[in-house]
């Protein structure tokens, strides 16, 4: 085999170390991690190889690696590592770096990537924006009770903000995702159609099959599952309401007993419980959680706050004086904006990259678990 001239990148190693992956250097390649990993497919064992790539600072190899996203951070490897090199944490750090490096535009990736210090800005800006926007439109005049939100913030304002942001996010994630898809595809042959393989992959994700194979991080499975379904429920509710509003001209606000409300409430509860479980697991620390970095906690916190402020908004509309309830609504709108806008640049993006990696895994035939 021809020698390839390798120039390892100190900057990658430094970045890795800064984000919490310094332990990669301890690895002496015994491969205990790969043998204990329940998720590693036979044809693509990880994370031993990812550890050496990280140690050598081979940023290009790491960037094109599907295994990085196939890892669910079970931390079975970290528990068993004889050298305390924490492969689970290293993989998580590699993912954080990947999100940052694949992001479009890069500066937003860097900004969100540094959430550990930039979080006041990331959360504060949406607040400032919404307050300013509402002030500009109606001078922040809160209507009298009974409160209907569209009297305070008309629907057009919601659309004016979230439609462009969503478009922007979709474009950004499409660009980043296809970049990753192409990197993964270099030098390997895929077979079958993308969509044909996407469907079983999504089914697998919805059932959280892989999480159940984890040992050390099994406590995380339920939380993650509830969290995911909470999101899905919230998205479905939003879609249903839009359809009801424009298709069936159903007047808003819906009465509390309306079945759509029930779906929404149930989803919010899932989001809250799942989020609480995940946050508690992270706070408890230990091996099942792995090291918690701003990459993990920022996204978790924002998503949790979306759920919390949602419930507060809904309940507060009837329970609290309008002046107070209005602020809850502003907070809800701001957290949603924060979550949407940072989607391609924070941990939320793992939804896209992991799905792509799982499709890639199916199309290259390594998924022989």
């Amino acid at each position: 085999m021809a020698s390839n001239v390798l120039i390892s990148s100190t900057s990658f190693r430094e970045a890795l170390a800064k984000k919490g992956g310094v332990t990669a250097a301890r690895c002496y390649q015994c491969a205990t991690c790969s043998s204990v990993c329940e998720l590693a497919p036979e044809g693509l064992p990880f994370p031993r190889r990812q550890m050496i790539n990280a140690q050598w600072g081979l940023a290009d190899k790491v960037a094109a690696d599907p295994a990085v996203w196939l890892c669910h951070q079970c931390n079975d490897c970290t528990v068993r590592c004889p050298r305390d090199a924490k492969p689970g944490d290293v993989m998580q750090t590699i993912r954080a770096l990947a999100v940052e490096n694949l992001s479009t535009p890069k500066f937003l990736g860097k900004l969100v990537g540094a959430a550990g210090s930039t979080w006041p800005l990331l959360i504060g800006l949406p607040f400032v924006f919404w307050i300013a926007f509402i002030y500009a439109v109606n001078g922040f005049t809160v209507p009298e009770a009974p409160l209907a939100w569209h009297d305070f913030v008309p629907h057009w304002m919601i659309y004016a903000v979230y439609i462009p942001v969503t478009l922007w996010v979709v474009i950004a994630i499409l660009v980043s995702g296809s970049r990753y898809w192409n990197l993964m595809g270099q030098g390997v042959t895929r077979s079958g159609s993308f969509v044909g393989n996407l469907i079983p992959a999504i089914k697998e994700i919805l059932a959280h099959k892989r999480f159940s194979d984890c040992e050390a991080a099994r406590p995380r499975k339920t939380g993650h599952l509830l969290f995911l379904w909470g999101f899905i429920g919230a998205a479905i509710t939003t879609a249903l309401i839009i359809v009801a509003m424009y298709g069936f001209k159903t007047p808003l606000p819906l009465p509390q007993t309306h079945w759509m409300k029930w779906i929404g409430n149930f989803s919010a509860l899932l989001l809250l419980f799942g989020g609480l479980m995940l946050l508690a697991n992270r706070m408890k620390g230990g091996q099942s959680a792995g090291a918690s970095t701003a990459f993990d906690t920022f996204f978790l916190f924002v998503a949790f706050m979306v759920g919390l402020t949602g419930i507060l908004t809904e309940g507060g509309r009837l329970a609290f004086p309008p002046q107070i309830a209005a602020w809850m609504y502003v907070a809800h709108l701001s957290f949603i904006l924060c979550l949407f806008a940072t989607f391609p640049y924070c941990k939320f993006a793992h939804m896209v990259y992991r799905t792509l990696a799982m499709v890639h895994e199916r199309m290259t035939g390594v998924a022989s678990r």
Partner: protein
């Protein structure tokens, strides 16, 4: 001795195993002047009885028939100027390891007593020597080890002299800025201690320092070494009691490492070159004067390599880690990549390794360096078998070869051979001899002028070297010892080592040196016969100048006069008796260990007739390992064959072949010698005793054939101290072999 008393202990199960009255009969037959029994001879009452016999009855030979001679030595010590003590082992060899109250057991007990009585009749009182002893320790080499050793000697109350060949003290560490960590938490480099150490030594009035000096001659013996040295033209002389040689090591010659690119590009350097640059604070690529962006360290450069150094120098991994840490601190923009075969960081260095590993400017990885090629201004390092699972090439500006250590030892044997060959050329006795000698001189020429100690010893002017040119000894059994009594090797000369180890080594060697001086002052031998006050006696009138003793003494004790007669240096002597084993004329003896005394033991007991079907076997057991192992087996109540009669010997090398002949001619059916391991990993306490015994027994085998005796009748067995479980196995198997051979045909002649 003239008046012998027999003192039998009946305790420790002895009286259940043997009939004491039969022992008394045997003692009376041998005209013992007293026969005393006591149920616990080692307790004050028993000791008092022995003392009473000495004082009142004038007993000068005390035969104590009790436990092994290794036990209760302190209790059974009486005035050595008046009384000789002989120990007969009735406990371990009889009561604990044989069937009680059995015919064979009884015969064994009587035989052992008779052997003891025979021996004590032949031995003399030893006359202790008292000589003028210098208490100064000479340290050769003024590096870290030497300076530490000199300071340690003074701390132990002994003045020290340092001889350093360079113009300043400090040695290798003069070139270093940092050293590897020596104290907890062991995670960062430590400051070089050498400057302070030099100041301490120079300020110490008890330490005399000669720099720019070399030794012209070391004459005499431990306690009385007369060292002549040259120091800038003027010759001086110092008297010292013991010597610590700490002449260190030098880096392996990198010019032999062309496959790693040395010599191909000025940007391939050794770790020693790099060390100097780090110390100077200017780290550049020598080829172009640029500051390197990346340095690749190649570990094991020429080490653990059949074609270069076969051994691991053990410090290069630590040194490289240290250099990476220093570079990270002093030149933070330089990236370091370390390629190792195995990262060897024994002990606490592991913490240092982990610390360096996590510094982002260093990458440490396993790989086999295939070759190094020049590329642009730097080099390409090609790796095969890297952890990436593929052949890779690393581009770098500077390559550092972590070369191993070569000891600064002088091969005493080779120098002597060279000098002897030169003498033969001068003598010009025959053409072939001159031709052979010329050839030898040619092959050994590189040893010329390498002398360090310049010992005035027949066996060569420097310490004999062992494996890999290190004047080492078995590191567990005999640390710091060399094959010259009173001279101890320390530091990187002794074995490859790093700075903390060298410091420890210096203390160890100094303690051995001080031990030697103090033993000499008391007129006693050093390890392993520590406390022995006897010295050898050479009956030179009958010497045939065969030179076997002068050649075979492992410690170079004997010089020769012009005719080849041995000249005994008492203080060099370890009392092993290897010369006694060597001498064909049997003119060498020790007061308590003579050829005649052992021969009389062999002849002391009755050998049963052929029809009795009771074979007899002589076992010569080395007192250092085999006998303690036997005692331990007995303590665990392991039984072995009762036909065997055991004679403890000082070393297998101290077995004179005449004893074999004596045994066979008496009709004894087999002879077994049990001693320590020989070879490169020897455990022989006198280094060469086992080896020599093996050679000598080879000659005995020829004699056996001539006498048409089965060669199986004489056997040598190697046994380690911890192999007590093998003792009965070895002895029983041998007894079986002898039984199969049938009786010795010379029985009854």
């Amino acid at each position: 001795m003239d008046k012998v008393g027999v003192f039998v202990c009946t305790g420790c199960e002895i009286k259940d195993a043997v009939k004491i009255d039969e022992l008394e009969e045997a003692a009376n037959e041998q005209n013992a002047a007293a026969f005393v029994t006591h149920e616990c001879l080692c307790e004050p009452g028993g000791i008092a009885q022995i003392q009473k016999s000495i004082d009142d009855d004038g007993i000068d030979g005390v035969v104590i028939a009790a436990c092994s001679h290794r036990m209760k030595q302190k209790e059974f010590t009486f005035d050595p100027t008046k009384v000789v003590v002989e120990r007969v082992c009735l406990r371990e060899q009889v009561a604990w390891s044989k069937k009680p109250d059995d015919e064979d057991t009884q015969m064994l007990a009587v035989d052992l007593l008779q052997m003891g009585l025979a021996r004590i009749g032949k031995v003399k009182l030893s006359e202790p020597i008292k000589e003028e002893i210098s208490d100064t320790v000479l340290v050769v080499g003024g590096g870290l080890t030497g300076l530490t050793a000199a300071k340690a000697a003074v701390d132990l109350g002994h003045p020290a002299v340092i001889i350093e060949k360079e113009d300043q003290l400090g040695g290798y560490l003069n070139d270093c800025k940092d050293v590897i960590p020596e104290h907890p938490p062991y995670d960062t480099v430590a400051a070089n201690p050498i400057g302070q150490l030099i100041k301490d030594v120079q300020a110490n009035e008890q330490i005399k320092v000669f720099t720019g000096a070399r030794i012209i001659a070391t004459k005499g013996q431990p306690g009385q070494f007369d060292v002549e040295l040259q120091n800038g033209g003027a010759a001086q002389s110092v008297k010292v009691g013991a010597i610590v040689q700490a002449t260190g090591a030098r880096p392996y010659d990198a010019s032999k490492l062309t496959h790693l690119g040395y010599g191909m590009s000025p940007n391939v350097i050794t770790s020693h070159d790099l060390e100097k640059m780090i110390t100077a604070g200017e780290l550049i690529c020598p080829g172009n004067g640029q500051i390197p962006n990346r340095i690749v360290f190649i570990q094991c450069a020429g080490s653990r390599d059949e074609n270069h150094l076969k051994y691991c120098s053990s410090e290069c991994c630590g040194t490289t880690l240290k250099q990476v840490a220093s570079i990270n601190r002093d030149f933070s923009d330089i990236e370091c990549a370390v390629i190792y075969k195995d990262m060897r960081t024994p002990g606490q260095l592991e913490h240092f390794y982990q610390g360096v590993q996590e510094s982002t400017h260093g990458m440490l990885t396993r790989g086999e360096v295939d070759k190094v090629e020049a590329h642009n201004n730097g080099a390409h390092v090609h790796l095969k078998d890297s952890l990436l699972g593929e052949d890779v090439t690393i581009e770098t500006d500077l390559v550092v070869l972590a070369v191993g250590m070569v000891p600064n030892s002088a091969d005493g044997h080779a120098i002597r051979e060279l000098n002897d060959a030169k003498l033969r050329i001068i003598k010009n006795e025959s053409e072939t001899q001159v031709a052979d000698a010329t050839k030898l001189v040619e092959s050994l020429k590189h040893h010329e002028g390498t002398e360090i100690l310049n010992l005035d010893y027949r066996q060569g002017p420097d310490l004999p070297i062992l494996k890999y040119d290190f004047p080492d000894s078995h590191y567990i059994c005999f640390p710091y010892e060399t094959r010259r009594t009173g001279i101890y090797a320390a530091g990187a000369l002794h074995a490859p080592m790093d700075t903390p180890q060298a410091i420890e080594d210096a203390y160890g060697a100094v303690m051995k040196a001080v031990q030697c001086i103090e033993s000499n002052a008391r007129g006693e031998a050093v390890h392993p016969r520590a406390g022995d006050q006897s010295i050898a006696d050479f009956f030179l009138q009958r010497c045939t100048q065969c030179k076997r003793c002068t050649e075979e003494c492992p410690f170079g004790t004997l010089n020769e006069d012009a005719k080849g007669t041995p000249e005994y240096n008492t203080l060099r002597c370890r009392r092993c008796g290897i010369c006694l084993g060597a001498c064909p004329e049997r003119i060498i003896s020790f007061p308590e260990y003579t050829v005649d005394a052992v021969a009389s033991m062999i002849k002391a007991f009755e050998v049963p007739e052929e029809e009795d079907e009771k074979p007899r076997i002589m076992a010569f057991l080395c007192e250092n390992d085999a006998l303690p192992a036997l005692d331990e087996a007995a303590a665990k109540r392991i039984q072995w064959n009762p036909w065997i009669r055991i004679v403890p010997v000082r070393c297998l090398g101290a077995v004179n072949t005449v004893w074999i002949a004596d045994s066979l001619s008496r009709g004894i059916d087999g002879i077994v010698l049990v001693g320590c391991k020989r070879g490169d990993d020897y455990q022989c306490h006198y280094i060469q005793g086992s080896e020599l015994a093996n050679t000598r027994m080879g000659n005995v085998q020829e004699t056996l054939e001539r006498l048409t005796l089965e060669s199986e009748r004489v056997k040598i067995v190697e046994l380690a101290r911890d192999e007590f479980h093998r003792v009965p196995q070895v002895l029983d198997e041998f007894a079986e072999t002898i039984d199969e051979c049938g009786p010795n045909p010379y029985k009854g002649f």
